[in-house]
């Protein structure tokens, strides 16, 4: 069987997948957006996070399931996302590309 090639991730997609990996079992859109905002200090709107999550799911990188309804959310359930092995591969490849491209620029990029 040939190895599946991982799709190329955009910058925001990369951040979202990283957040999903970080949050593990607690990865649902609000938490993911919060995680991105807190760590990167950039704005991550809920709709764009949700749409990105869905796109990544369509690409076969993530999978989702619905949790139990919680009273805090007015009896609504959460949609939890988790990464598939392909996502891990895609993240690795993306980071490798960045590392490769920045090689030789260390003196320039160090602050």
């Amino acid at each position: 069987m040939t190895k599946q090639t991982a799709p190329v991730l955009g910058e925001f997609e990369l951040l979202v997948v990283l957040a999903v990996l970080k949050l593990d079992d607690a990865a649902y859109p609000v938490a993911i957006a919060d995680e991105i905002e807190r760590t990167t200090r950039r704005r991550a709107s809920r709709p764009s996070v949700l749409i990105t999550l869905e796109r990544l799911e369509e690409k076969g990188l993530l999978t989702s399931r619905y949790g139990d309804p919680t009273p805090v959310r007015g009896g609504r359930s959460k949609r939890f996302f988790s990464a598939k092995p392909l996502a891990l591969q895609a993240v690795r490849e993306a980071l490798a590309r960045i590392t490769a491209m920045s090689r030789g620029l260390e003196s320039l990029l160090e602050t």
């Binding site: 649902y28 859109p29 609000v30 709107s45 809920r46 709709p47 764009s48 949700l50 749409i51 869905e54 796109r55 619905y66 919680t70 805090v72 959310r73 007015g74 609504r76 359930s77 959460k78 949609r79």
Partner: protein
């Protein structure tokens, strides 16, 4: 407290259509959680609902964008294919532009007439009283009926009156301004008060040095530049100084948009004719009360039609409410516009069929591409979607250009409208929201209709078999060929029908304008009204003016008449015409009497057709009549010398018509016809039962007494002098008018050119002729294009076969005939069907035609010939191309 969030009904509905229940639920949970957190942090959104809606819609739109992005390749494919069409794509865009443009123009015109919104907020609580009369629907309530109804204070809370006032000539303005006498309180009852100044109040009708008036906002702007500054100002008119106490808001009209000045009547000349419905009273109760009144008068043997109560808001919607200008044929208006609307739709349909034909051709031509795409894995759905996108791109291009065309078209149409009709429209002919909605609908229809063949083909065609055929032999199957023939047949049929209607209208207008019975060029009317003083001083003025005009170098001849042409019948009634010695009337006739001097016939250009012209020494009962009357009652041509009388159905009562229109001859009771002169079209309409309105001419001495109305005491209440003037050049009219104005100081002098009068009188026929004529020509061109398409496609599809035929010895002529035959069947079938359709439709428009019968064989022959010639011209080029094919080349090709 946790904030509970719920989207609006619409948003929830959209969400549920696009997403699963779980997804929606989870997304809403996320939003409510975020909202709760913001509230906890002490920075809750100011409008939580709006906040929620914006976020949900961002989500929805982003989702839709994802969907579009997934169709990316199909869109790109469609775009490339649309661009690749080149000429045929351009033709398609031009056709759609025409369909959308003409449709939008027509709709905006129909819209302006149909949706003429009532400017009176309270019109639903006011009623007017109408009855049918031989000349149409009139607003009238007899004094006895009014007395009876006004006693019913349980039904009506107030009564108001309004009537036409004398037109005012304002210093510095060329056109006369119409005025209306309105009872103080009427405008308040209508729910409109002046935007500047005060309304009319009781006491304003008191005679004083100045007349107190309300004026329209546009008149205020013309006179004083600023409406606000007009209040309190005075302006001079031919009937005296007028002081403005109030300026009505923009867009206000009463009763039509032509009245610009409203004043309180000096005394109530007419009984009240508008009633305010008492609170709590239903329209049904009013109708019942008025209905019983009508029954009573019917049983008492009165001949006038029964009176009925009509809500003023309904009466306002009636096209008749703005037809008082006389420029618009009231009864034919709605029919005219629905017909034009039908013509526009017909044209749109022809264009759709044509585009559909082009689409089908291009779908067939692309068979190989489709087959290759299918072989590479494209689904049938993707092929259909791509074809639909391609049509959408072309249709959208056409729609955008069509709106541009419509913008230009509406301005042209507005300019072409008779001035009075244009001024009476409060809803202008423009591209408003309703027109935009209609255009969107029309575009959608075009897109759907033109996509049908492609979808049909893509969903049914045997694509795999297509690969087996060579490009040159990828001819249409029998079904596809019949589909194309069907499309072109319907196109030809619709074009023929449209052309016949157009030809009938154009012929009607030309006949009407030419056969108005007089030479309109250089003929002018000159009316002097509001003369003060005695009949003797008016007669002196008449002599002075005639002497002046006779001596003027620009005046070729001048004649006095009791009435001006055209017109002369307004307010008249039909009477029964009795032939001498007959025991029953010969029929109804609508006479308009002209008392004229001896120069009249020569000045106006009336031709003598029999007998002699009236002479000064004729007896009172000797008259000349118009040819229309003579032909109707004396078809054998023996009108000259015949005697007749006019009266009621039961007996002779000459002169029983309204005072201004009767033949004043009580002594003899009968008239002798001494001459028959050419018929003059007096009015745009025909008399409903009495046939055309005919003119009766009586000769009075050279200086006939001025026309005047006399009060009961024999004192003149109004005096007018009317002249028909034949000028050397029409531009000289202004000079002549200035001369007369300087002589008849203090009086109102109005002038006009006869051709302009007739352009107004026949305004509706002109619009109909112009528009259907334009549509007809476009339809013919489109049909020509369609026929060309059929023949060209025939040649393209059978190149190989033609090559073989030529190789086997077929002559040029044989090949040309072969191609010509390809369009013969659809053209013949279409022409026959179109003629039949035209026969049916033209019966319906018969009432709008003049001087031409709906079944006019010449018109049909002309249209059929035009269509056949067009078909030959359209087919000629492909036929020529086919006959010059080199068989060696065509056979060597695949």
């Amino acid at each position: 407290m946790r904030a509970r969030v719920a989207p609006s009904v619409v948003t929830a509905w959209v969400l549920r259509r696009l997403r699963s229940r779980h997804e929606v639920d989870a997304a809403l949970g996320d939003l409510s959680e975020e909202l709760a957190r913001l509230t906890d942090e002490g920075r809750p959104p100011r409008w939580p609902r709006l906040w929620l809606e914006i976020r949900i819609w961002r989500y929805v739109i982003a989702g839709l964008w994802n969907l579009v992005a997934s169709l990316d390749s199909e869109l790109r494919w469609a775009w490339r294919s649309a661009r690749g069409r080149r000429i045929s794509g351009l033709i398609q865009i031009v056709l759609i532009t025409l369909a959308v443009g003409t449709g939008a123009v027509l709709f905006s015109a129909a819209d302006a007439f149909v949706f003429n919104p009532s400017p009176y907020p309270n019109a639903v609580r006011l009623v007017v009283f109408q009855r049918d009369s031989p000349v149409g629907v009139v607003d009238s309530l007899r004094a006895d009926e009014q007395r009876e109804l006004s006693a019913r204070s349980d039904l009506f809370s107030a009564w108001y009156t309004h009537s036409m006032g004398a037109p005012a000539e304002i210093a510095g303005m060329t056109a006369l301004v119409r005025t209306q006498d309105v009872q103080p309180g009427l405008f308040e009852a209508l729910g409109v008060v002046p935007q500047w100044g005060r309304p009319l109040v009781p006491g304003d009708e008191q005679p004083g040095r100045e007349t107190v008036v309300l004026i329209s906002a546009d008149l205020a702007r013309t006179l004083f530049a600023d409406p606000a500054a007009a209040v309190g100002r005075t302006f001079e008119t031919s009937t005296g100084a007028m002081r403005v106490v109030g300026v009505m808001p923009d867009g206000f009209r009463f009763p039509t948009a032509l009245e610009k000045i409203w004043q309180a009547p000096l005394k109530a000349q007419f009984p009240p004719n508008i009633a305010a419905v008492a609170p709590g009273v239903s329209m049904k109760a009013i109708e019942h009360a008025v209905g019983s009144l009508a029954n009573e008068s019917a049983s008492s043997g009165r001949s006038a039609g029964p009176v009925r109560a009509v809500k003023m808001s309904d009466a306002e919607k009636d096209p008749r409410s703005f037809t008082n200008s006389g420029a618009f044929n009231a009864s034919s208006g709605p029919r005219l516009f629905s017909m034009l609307f039908g013509a526009a739709l017909c044209l749109a349909l022809i264009i759709c069929l044509n585009v559909a034909g082009l689409e089908l051709a291009s779908a067939l031509e692309r068979t190989r591409v489709s087959v290759v795409l299918t072989a590479l894995g494209a689904t049938r759905g993707a092929l259909i979607r791509s074809a639909l996108f391609e049509t959408t791109i072309l249709t959208a291009g056409g729609a955008i250009l069509g709106m541009g065309l419509a913008t230009w078209g509406t301005s042209v149409l507005t300019a072409a409208l008779p001035a009075a009709l244009g001024a009476a429209l409060t809803n202008p002919i423009d591209l408003d929201l309703r027109t935009a909605a209609f255009t969107a609908g029309l575009t959608l229809m075009t897109a759907i209709l033109t996509s049908i063949p492609v979808v049909w083909y893509a969903s049914r065609a045997d694509l795999a078999n297509g690969l087996r055929r060579g490009a040159q032999t990828a001819t249409a199957t029998r079904t596809q060929q019949s589909a194309r023939y069907g499309l072109i047949t319907v196109q030809v049929a619709l074009s023929v029908a449209l052309l016949v209607i157009a030809a009938l209208f154009v012929q009607s207008y030309v006949t009407r304008f030419d056969a108005k019975g007089l030479e309109g060029a250089n003929l002018a009317t000159l009316g002097i009204s509001d003369l003060r003083g005695s009949p003797e001083s008016a007669a002196d003025l008449d002599r002075t003016i005639q002497a002046q005009l006779d001596g003027h170098p620009a005046v070729q001849s001048v004649s006095r008449t009791s009435r001006l042409l055209p017109g002369g019948f307004r307010g008249g009634s039909a009477q029964h015409l009795w032939l001498q010695g007959a025991t029953s009337p010969a029929g109804l006739a609508a006479p308009a009497t002209f008392e004229v001097d001896a120069d009249f016939f020569q000045t106006v250009g009336l031709r003598l057709l029999g007998g002699r012209l009236p002479r000064a020494d004729d007896a009172d009962d000797q008259i000349a009549v118009d040819e229309a009357l003579a032909r109707r009652f004396w078809p054998d041509g023996k009108a000259v010398g015949a005697r007749f009388s006019l009266g009621s159905e039961t007996g002779n009562s000459p002169g029983s018509g309204p005072s201004q229109n009767r033949l004043r001859d009580a002594s003899a009771g009968t008239f002798e016809i001494i001459g028959v002169v050419s018929h003059v079209e007096l009015e745009a309409r025909e008399f409903p039962r009495g046939g055309p309105i005919f003119a009766v001419y009586r000769l009075l001495p050279r200086h006939l007494p001025p026309s005047m109305g006399l009060s009961a005491g024999g004192r003149p209440t109004w005096i007018i002098l009317n002249y028909m003037v034949r000028l050397s050049r029409p531009e000289m009219l202004d000079e002549v008018a200035t001369l007369v104005r300087s002589t008849a100081q203090g009086a109102t002098v109005s002038t006009g050119l006869m051709d302009d009068h007739y352009t107004e009188v026949f305004g509706d026929t002109r619009i109909a002729a112009g528009m259907t004529g334009g549509f007809g020509v476009v339809a013919l061109l489109v049909a020509m294009l369609g026929l060309y398409g059929v023949a060209a496609f025939f040649v393209a599809g059978r190149t190989r076969e033609i090559g073989i035929r030529i190789a086997l010895g077929a002559h040029r002529g044989n090949v040309q005939r072969l191609v010509l035959r390809s369009t013969v069947r659809p053209v013949i079938v279409g022409t026959v069907a179109g003629s039949a359709l035209a026969l049916v439709v033209s019966r319906w428009i018969g009432g709008q035609l003049f001087g031409v019968v709906p079944q006019d064989p010449t018109t049909y022959a002309l249209v059929v010939t035009t269509m056949l010639v067009t078909a030959v011209v359209a087919t000629w080029w492909p036929a020529r191309r086919a006959s010059t094919l080199d068989p060696a080349l065509t056979l060597r090709a695949e």
